[in-house]
């Protein structure tokens, strides 16, 4: 499609680089183009991603593949009930040689942090991670350490096995830019996976295709994507609709509006456009907003999930339109 008008050189680079990363990840995860694309969108929108699905569908694999394909520090934290905040942020240990306290950075000091089964950790530990996510800094013993960009947390959550877990409260889910579900692969993709993954993990063969600096430049390009006034109003209309819907007990926050527009910028940039269109917002509304919404008792009774409600609202809120003349 003739989508690329007036695309600046940086945007062209972005499209090429993003396509490289995309291909790299898809060589590991078969038939999950949407999830991969959304992951990239969140990365470029400087957000964090929550992957929620049953075990074994490739949540961790996706996170790892992204981490691998970018040449940047990657850390993985397996959350367990006995994990302590300092296990994430790092500790100050006494160095007997220098006779001084020395800060040992935790796993959060990386560009991509994969938090596996985040709902298994105690709320205290969860909140330690969430503070880092929001503030992009770590404070230990009164000293604040800044986290270098790019910084992205990819947390996974298992909705089935809920025993002994601490589900993320709404306030903390709000910090994630988007939530995705992996879903089972199509039978053909699963068949291909058996062939490819039979001998060795394809992750091992994955080579980085982009550098941290490149990703940083991409993020810069995304920031320059134009959001017109009608689009901003449309975003506000969408979010406002969630607050007034009788099917929702809790609507989306102003932070959600911010995340939505940021993600829409990244989405537009990935499509090679230097401006946001309503289609970007419409596509992102469910992954970016739905996990922040709480259904009302009525909607629960009718087994309407927030995703359904959100999709309905998107269909009802009118897009900005030129007045006929």
């Amino acid at each position: 499609m003739a989508l690329t008008h007036d695309v600046s050189p940086r945007l062209d680079d972005l499209v090429v680089t993003a396509r490289r990363i995309n291909q790299a990840i898809e060589s590991v995860i078969e038939g999950k183009g949407d999830a991969v694309r959304l992951t990239l969108t969140v990365l470029l929108a400087e957000g964090h991603l929550l992957i929620e699905d049953v075990p074994g569908v490739g949540k961790t694999m996706l996170a790892k593949a992204l981490a691998r394909s970018i040449d940047c520090p990657v850390r993985r934290i397996q959350f367990t009930p006995d994990l302590l905040p300092s296990d994430i942020t790092g500790v100050s240990a006494y160095n007997q040689q220098t006779r001084e306290f020395e800060f040992k950075p935790g796993p959060v000091f990386a560009s991509i942090v994969v938090g596996d089964e985040i709902n298994r950790a105690s709320p205290k530990t969860q909140s330690a991670l969430l503070e880092c996510m929001e503030e992009r800094q770590v404070t230990v013993d009164g000293t604040t350490y800044l986290l270098d960009g790019p910084f992205m947390v990819i947390a996974t959550q298992n909705p089935v096995e809920m025993e002994g877990t601490y589900p993320l409260p709404e306030a903390q889910r709000d910090r994630f830019t988007a939530r995705i579900a992996m879903g089972y692969p199509a039978p053909s993709a699963e068949l291909e996976m058996l062939d490819v993954h039979g001998a060795a993990s394809p992750l091992d063969k994955l080579e980085p295709v982009a550098t941290t600096a490149e990703v940083r430049a991409l993020i810069g390009a995304v920031r320059a994507v134009y959001v017109s006034q009608p689009i901003k109003r449309y975003a506000v209309d969408l979010v406002t609709a969630t607050r007034h819907s009788p099917e929702l007990r809790l609507g989306a926050s102003p932070r959600a509006t911010l995340h939505l527009v940021r993600a829409a910028r990244a989405h537009a940039a990935l499509a090679g456009r230097d401006y946001v269109i309503p289609d970007d917002l419409q596509e992102l509304c469910v992954p970016v907003l739905a996990h922040r919404l709480l259904p009302s008792a009525e909607a629960q009774g009718q087994r309407r999930s927030p995703e359904h409600v959100m999709a309905d609202l998107v269909r009802r809120v009118p897009v900005p339109e030129a007045r006929p003349r």
């Binding site: 008008h5 009788p246 419409q282 009118p318 897009v319 030129a322």
Partner: protein, 797 residues
């Protein structure tokens, strides 16, 4: 309780529309009193839950007491309690009212009989409305008695009802409906969304305020439509239902010192608000006579005027009998009639004596002289004010034979009374010749002319016609055929001259109404009539003006001017013989049955249709053409809009001038996008509100089976729109016209034939614009609603 109040307000509002029937406003206050009494009882009954069957009798009693107090207070006990005398008195008053109603033409004087009747009638209507609306909760049915009240003026007077009166009446009824609706749906119901709101609004709980607003919007729209639509529709009638602005009189002054302009003063007297007595008279045979004051002999193409009378000293009334009536031969039987006339004091400076024609001998004080040719009696020094005088007139009693035998008219008469201006329109001449029989005698032709005015021509009587300009005569005769005695008399005199009968216009009074043994003439009896000359008989009056309630109230038709059958002829001869034998005058028959002289289109051998030269097929053709044009208007509007948008495009496509600036391409894209939107709407492609341009283009391509070219065209337009709306700089528009055409063709190919035809002939997008306009008007109403001081308070209640 609220319903009772609303009923009273509605009745009062409708009662206002009775105003053209009365002189002065006193009737309204007494009627209002009756309404207030009824409403008061209704409110109390609602408040204390009085049984339903008890309320109307209570209200009737209350209205009775009210009327007793107002009309027969002195007969009642303590001014309000009805006594035997007061009941009798009230009955007499009502009977007098009933007697007056057929006798008097609107506007009627506010005498107590009519006031009592009106007050009672309005009170009855108020009771009925209260019964239907407040007692049995059938507010819509209460419209029927209200409608009955409203149609009274429409039925009685021929003039249109003023639209403000209609608005007031309609609003009164609307108020009643609103009050009823409030009571009915106040506790239940869902919001009726009148139109799509601009931003998403969640479901609201039921709110009677919104409901009420919808009702008011519908009601107001209906009222506005009811007023505007008849004005907009092309009509062949000259009198629409509502008059837009009264025909303000602009009578010409120009009175000379001694000769008033009789025409102007005639109209002035007919439209005078008060109907005062001008004179009273008695005749020795007890019958009324027309009393002539002036004779107008010159027609200048605009109006009839009078040659100055010539009063020689030897023609003083005190010097003996008056000169003989011109043209009256000795072989015509005459009846001497003695009339004693008393002119009232308040008539002003009247220099001419009102007299029955032809006066023979006058016994009057003062210096009064006679004009030999016209037998007008006037004075240069004295006035007729307060004067009492006796006149003996020798009335000719011509028969059809004597009139048929009438010899040639002497040149002295023809010179003066057949003269017509050269500018007389051909149409008038043609009409006169058409309605008369070329081979008939002058007398027969005169009867045919009168018959044309009274029966065949379909004329109506109205005082609103104003006519002294060049067109007045043609307007009256050809176009609207509505006027009052002045037009009737003038037109008949002109037409008589056209067909060769010497004619002039007389101004004076009709015989008036009976008063004791004599007759009473009032200002509203002022009249004009034509006089036609027949050699041997002299001047005879004719009566083309309709009589009765829908015409000049007391006009009568002379017997010799009636078209007659053989039988009537015989009777007439017999009557003539007895008359001759008994030597008693055969009086003009007073208008006993007034309706028989009203213009009646179903009566007689068919009306002569308008002489415009437009035959029925032509008229039908014009109507069809207008309807076709109206039907094509939406399509034409659509093409105009499209052409305008293309113009915007081509302006933007021109080498960018400084004027076009950055706005040029954006504007052009907006125009193209709007055009695409209209094209889609015309072809019945609905657009969900959440569909973006890009999604629309994709859907068009998929759903309507566009070929690659058309799909690309749609995508190009959508992209341009997208960039215009959301990008920093609008992109290149390309060639919008071929793109649009491609999309239109592809859509047409995918649509059924019916849709294609509708898109071409009745494009729905045009109606959408009209609807948008309507929505804006409704918004205006909403704002008005907000401005009304009581609006928010009532909502809070």
């Amino acid at each position: 309780m609220r319903l009772s109040l609303a009923s009273g307000v509605a009745t009062g509002a409708v009662a206002i529309s009775l105003y053209p029937l009365f002189q002065g406003g006193a009737w309204f206050w007494t009627s209002l009193g009756a309404i207030l009494v009824t409403t008061g009882i209704g409110v109390l009954a609602s408040r204390f839950a009085v049984p339903l069957w008890l309320v109307p009798p209570a209200q009737l009693t209350a209205v009775w007491i009210f009327m007793t107090a107002v009309f027969t207070g002195e007969e009642a006990w303590a001014a309000i309690v009805p006594t035997r005398e007061s009941v009798t008195e009230l009955g007499l008053l009502l009977a007098a009212g009933f007697d007056d109603i057929p006798r008097l033409a609107a506007p009627v004087p506010p005498n107590s009989g009519i006031m009592a009747l009106t007050c009672g009638g309005v009170g009855l209507i108020a009771i009925l409305v209260d019964l239907l609306a407040a007692r049995t909760h059938r507010a819509a049915l209460a419209g029927l008695p209200l409608l009955a009240l409203f149609t009274v003026p429409a039925a009685v007077i021929t003039e249109p009802i003023g639209w403000p009166a209609f608005i007031i009446a309609a609003l009164g009824y609307l108020g009643l409906l609103v009050a009823d609706g409030r009571e009915r749906v106040g506790h239940w119901g869902r919001t009726v969304l009148v139109r799509r709101t601009s931003s998403y609004v969640g479901q609201r709980s039921s709110d009677p305020g919104t409901l009420r607003l919808s009702g008011k919007r519908i009601g107001l729209t209906a009222v506005v439509l009811a007023i505007l639509l008849p004005a907009v529709l092309p009509t062949l009638e000259t009198n629409p239902l509502f008059g837009y602005g009264a025909g303000a009189g602009k009578g010409r002054g120009g009175n000379s010192i001694s000769i008033p302009n009789p025409i102007v003063s005639l109209r002035g007297r007919l439209t005078l608000p008060g109907n005062s007595t001008v004179m009273t008279y008695t005749t020795d045979d007890g019958s009324p006579r027309y009393l002539r004051i002036y004779t107008l002999d010159v027609f200048d193409g605009r109006q009839w005027t009078m040659t100055g009378p010539n009063g020689r000293p030897e023609d003083k009334t005190s010097a003996g009998p008056l000169p003989p009536p011109p043209g009256q031969g000795t072989d015509v039987p005459v009846t001497p009639v003695t009339t004693k006339i008393s002119v009232s004091d308040g008539v002003g400076n009247l220099k001419f004596l009102p007299l029955p024609y032809p006066p023979g001998r006058i016994d009057v004080a003062g210096d009064w002289r006679t004009d030999r040719d016209t037998l007008m009696v006037f004075s240069t020094g004295d006035t007729a004010e307060g004067l009492t005088y006796t006149v003996v007139s020798d009335e000719p009693r011509p028969t059809t034979e004597t009139l048929g035998r009438a010899g040639p008219v002497p040149p002295r008469i023809t010179e003066r009374y057949l003269r017509l201006p050269k500018s007389l329109p051909r149409k008038v001449t043609d009409l006169a010749l058409r309605v008369t029989d070329r081979n008939a005698t002058p007398h027969e032709r005169a009867i045919q002319l009168q018959d044309f005015f009274t029966r065949k021509g379909g004329f109506t009587y109205t005082l609103t016609t104003q006519g002294h300009d060049d067109q007045a005569l043609t307007d009256f005769l050809i176009r609207n055929r509505a006027g009052y005695c002045e037009q009737f008399a003038a037109a008949m005199a002109v037409m008589a001259r056209v067909v060769g009968i010497p004619a002039r216009v007389a101004i004076g009074y009709t015989g008036g109404g009976r008063l004791g043994d004599g007759w009473q003439v009032r200002t509203h009896d002022a009249h004009a009539w034509p006089e036609l000359y027949f050699e041997g008989t002299g001047w005879l009056r004719f009566e083309p003006t309709p009589a009765g309630g829908a015409g000049q109230g007391s006009a009568t038709v002379p017997p010799y001017s009636r078209p007659r059958t053989a039988k009537a002829e015989d009777e007439e001869r017999a009557g003539e013989r007895t008359t001759d034998a008994g030597d008693t005058g055969r009086p003009d028959r007073p208008a006993v049955n007034r309706r028989d002289r009203m213009p009646d289109r179903e009566y007689g051998d068919g009306p002569i249709t308008a002489e415009e030269g437009l035959s029925l097929p032509v008229r039908a053709g014009v109507g069809v053409a207008i309807a076709l044009l109206a039907a094509l208007a939406p399509a034409a509007l659509r093409l105009r809009t499209r052409a305008r948008r293309y113009r915007i495009c081509s302006r933007a496509a021109r080498p960018a001038g400084a004027a076009a600036g950055a706005d040029g391409p954006g504007e052009a894209t907006a125009a193209v996008w709007a055009e695409l939107d209209d094209v889609l709407h015309d072809h019945g492609v609905s657009r969900p509100p959440s569909e973006s341009p890009r999604a629309l283009a994709a859907r068009l391509g998929e759903r309507y089976g566009f070929d690659a070219e058309a799909a690309a065209a749609a995508a190009r337009i959508a992209m341009a729109a997208e960039r215009m709306l959301f990008a920093r700089t609008p992109g290149d528009l390309g060639s919008p016209r071929p793109d649009l055409r491609r999309v239109r063709r592809a859509l047409a190919a995918a649509s059924p034939r019916g849709v294609r035809i509708r898109a071409a002939l009745l494009p729905p997008s045009t109606f959408r614009r009209a609807r948008a306009l309507g929505a804006r008007v409704l918004d205006g109403f909403d704002r008005l609603e907000g401005l009304l001081p009581g609006g928010s308070a009532r909502r809070g209640a």
